[in-house]
């Protein structure tokens, strides 16, 4: 099957999967005790039966569950994610406003983790008996075992409190009102700690995987051949071996999308980073159902496409994989 055919099939599967996710989310919210109207009435400090009935009608809660589900799904299909009850603004614009911050955070963290993690892993495989390998082991254990929000707080304590060289939180300094390049630099300055924190977790994983696959590749016949030809060691390691050793790293990186989002929620909370994670957390606390549903669906979409992209990337990097999955 051609690559296009695979993409088409996987896309169709993805749409089915996402529809199921939407139905599940909606049903869960329906199943849970309490609803929007109760929240609103609670905030109003009570209301008459008549007002409650009117509100229920306005939010469509007087209809049967299946009717409500049908209305929700047919709305979502047209790209209408509804109105946030708290902000009284379309969910889609609320989400769109927050995407840049989260994308910046997650992509920088991913880049740091991939580059540093792979380098550490390769070096550890290259010198498996040295202090470097021990160091890489230590770093990966730390990254695995420390809760991400705690490492974030510890970094804050260190680099914002004890040695105050980095800001404690936020996206940029509102007071300065910087523009253009100054603003970009300000954002970068604010990005250092959150991105490093988020990267730590994944750096641990990537360095371990890179090391393991590099060890395997370095022991293979074609590497021995390359060495026997008299190629310089650097060429052997970085040109011949690294390409094959990278495969598992790429796969794992792509499949970590869901974990990255989870990490982003915690890291954004620690560093008051105004991204999707914070928005999600607030919407959950406020029982802002439409917003909550919207973010859940969007996350599922991101994870699905992350997986799809990984799959395609994998085929691209490794032409040996037959296209039949």
């Amino acid at each position: 099957m051609s690559v296009l055919g695979i993409v088409a099939r996987r896309l169709a599967q993805a749409v089915g999967l996402l529809a199921a996710v939407a139905v599940l989310n909606f049903s869960l919210i329906h199943l849970a005790p309490g609803d929007v109207v109760q929240t609103i009435v609670g905030e109003m400090g009570g209301a008459s039966e008549e007002t409650i009935a009117k509100l229920r009608q306005a939010y469509g809660l007087d209809r049967s569950f299946l009717e409500q589900l049908w209305i929700y799904v047919s709305r979502v299909v047209t790209g209408d994610l509804g109105l946030s009850t708290y902000y009284n603004r379309p969910v889609i614009t609320l989400i769109a406003d927050r995407i840049p911050a989260t994308a910046l955070l997650v992509l920088s963290a991913l880049a740091i983790a991939l580059v540093v993690g792979t380098m550490l892993g390769v070096l550890a495989a290259r010198y498996p008996r040295g202090w470097l390998a021990a160091f890489v082991n230590l770093v990966s254990l730390l990254g695995f075992s420390a809760p991400v929000f705690w490492s974030g707080l510890m970094l804050l304590l260190l680099f914002a409190s004890m040695i105050p060289i980095l800001p404690t939180g936020g996206y940029y300094n509102v007071v300065h009102g910087a523009q253009g390049i100054a603003l970009a630099l300000d954002i970068a300055h604010h990005l250092v700690l959150p991105a490093t924190t988020l990267a730590l977790v994944f750096l641990a994983l990537y360095s371990r995987i890179a090391r393991a696959s590099m060890l395997e590749v370095l022991g293979s016949d074609y590497v021995r051949t390359a060495r026997a030809k008299g190629l310089p060691e650097r060429t052997v390691v970085f040109k011949h071996a690294l390409r094959n050793a990278l495969l598992p790293v790429v796969t794992i990186a792509g499949l970590q999308f869901s974990a990255m989002l989870a990490g982003a929620v915690l890291v954004e909370t620690v560093f008051s980073w105004p991204g999707l994670g914070q928005l999600a957390f607030e919407s959950i606390l406020r029982r802002d159902n439409q917003l909550m549903l919207g973010i859940l669906l969007l996350s599922a979409v991101l994870v699905t496409f992350g997986n799809l992209l990984t799959d395609l990337l994998y085929r691209l990097v490794d032409p040996r994989i037959k296209t039949d999955a």
């Binding site: 420390a146 606390l285 029982r287 699905t304």
Partner: protein
């Protein structure tokens, strides 16, 4: 979520004549006990267990009780200081571990139970069953784990049980995939064929013929899943999505984080406890992985 590929300490047992000619379990143990990192893990784990079991009895201070001035630094009055309300941090550290570990272990057990059942059925029966269950696994893999668990906990009551179920429900796909792969591999081996020829029922073949042989990687995955579940619980508690009447390490960090500058101790110590616990579990998990994995052993 995690891959265990470390070979910490595999050096010691590369050519191990003692380990030959024994049952695989004893052989694995022979390898395991030569693994320094794994032994450190066991020691740490015993330490944590001792603190969780004996601590509250030895140090019966209520972690919610106000015992002194707010934000007293560590010292003679309060060994690990007090938090922003004047609650004893040591009491929190000693008492807050039980819920964290209880939730982590129970959630990991649910994870393993669901994962092994679905993976076993999927891998054993194959064909349509496998494809249908594959869709279910895929569905749960697409769900954003933390967000979904957060929604579950807020929608239903924030009790420890809800937290356990929420983590267990979102975390199982990895073990399911692993179990399925093991069953696919094992079901076509001769000893399974002969069991089938002898007329054993499907349930019997799954449970007593294949499962014992598929256990080693499942045990490793379940161990590491326990560490992940503890981190997951800590994250939820940190966000305040847990039972507010039960002191836990994550809750301590979450409630004190705005006072990080003035009272670093109230955030640092509980976090360090989470770290040590998960580290111990990871070390043991890695050790088990090395011990069970003959391929790594030869390296």
């Amino acid at each position: 979520m995690r891959e265990s590929v470390s070979s910490l300490g595999t050096r010691a047992h590369r050519s191990d004549p003692v380990a030959l000619g024994r049952s695989p379990w004893r052989e694995a143990w022979a390898v395991f006990r030569r693994n320094r990192a794994a032994l450190v893990g066991i020691a740490l784990l015993s330490l944590v267990a001792a603190m969780l079991l004996g601590g509250p009895w030895l140090y019966p201070v209520d972690p919610f009780e106000i015992v002194g001035a707010p934000m007293t630094p560590p010292g003679p009055d309060a060994l690990l200081g007090t938090d922003y309300l004047g609650r004893d941090v040591l009491a929190g550290v000693v008492h807050g571990g039980r819920p964290t570990v209880l939730v982590g272990v129970s959630a990991a057990m649910i994870t393993a139970l669901i994962g092994v059942s679905i993976g076993a059925v999927s891998g054993y029966y194959g064909r349509v069953t496998d494809r249908a269950l594959g869709r279910v696994v895929e569905f749960f893999q697409v769900l954003p784990t933390l967000l979904f668990a957060m929604v579950l906990i807020t929608l239903f009551s924030p009790t420890l049980l809800t937290v356990i179920v929420a983590i267990g429900v979102v975390a199982w796909p990895q073990i399911a995939r692993l179990t399925r792969a093991e069953f696919l591999r094992l079901r076509q081996l001769d000893f399974v064929r002969s069991a089938r020829a002898a007329g054993a029922s499907d349930a019997r073949i799954i449970l007593s013929t294949i499962l014992p042989n598929a256990l080693p990687p499942i045990i490793v995955a379940a161990t590491l899943a326990t560490g992940s579940a503890i981190l997951f619980e800590a994250g939820l508690s940190f966000l305040g999505l847990t039972d507010p009447n039960v002191m836990s390490w994550g809750l301590m960090i979450g409630s004190s984080r705005n006072h990080l500058r003035e009272a670093w101790w109230s955030v640092t110590f509980p976090g360090f406890c989470i770290f040590l616990t998960v580290l111990a579990i990871s070390l043991v998990g890695d050790g088990l992985n090395d011990a069970f994995n003959p391929k790594l052993r030869q390296r």
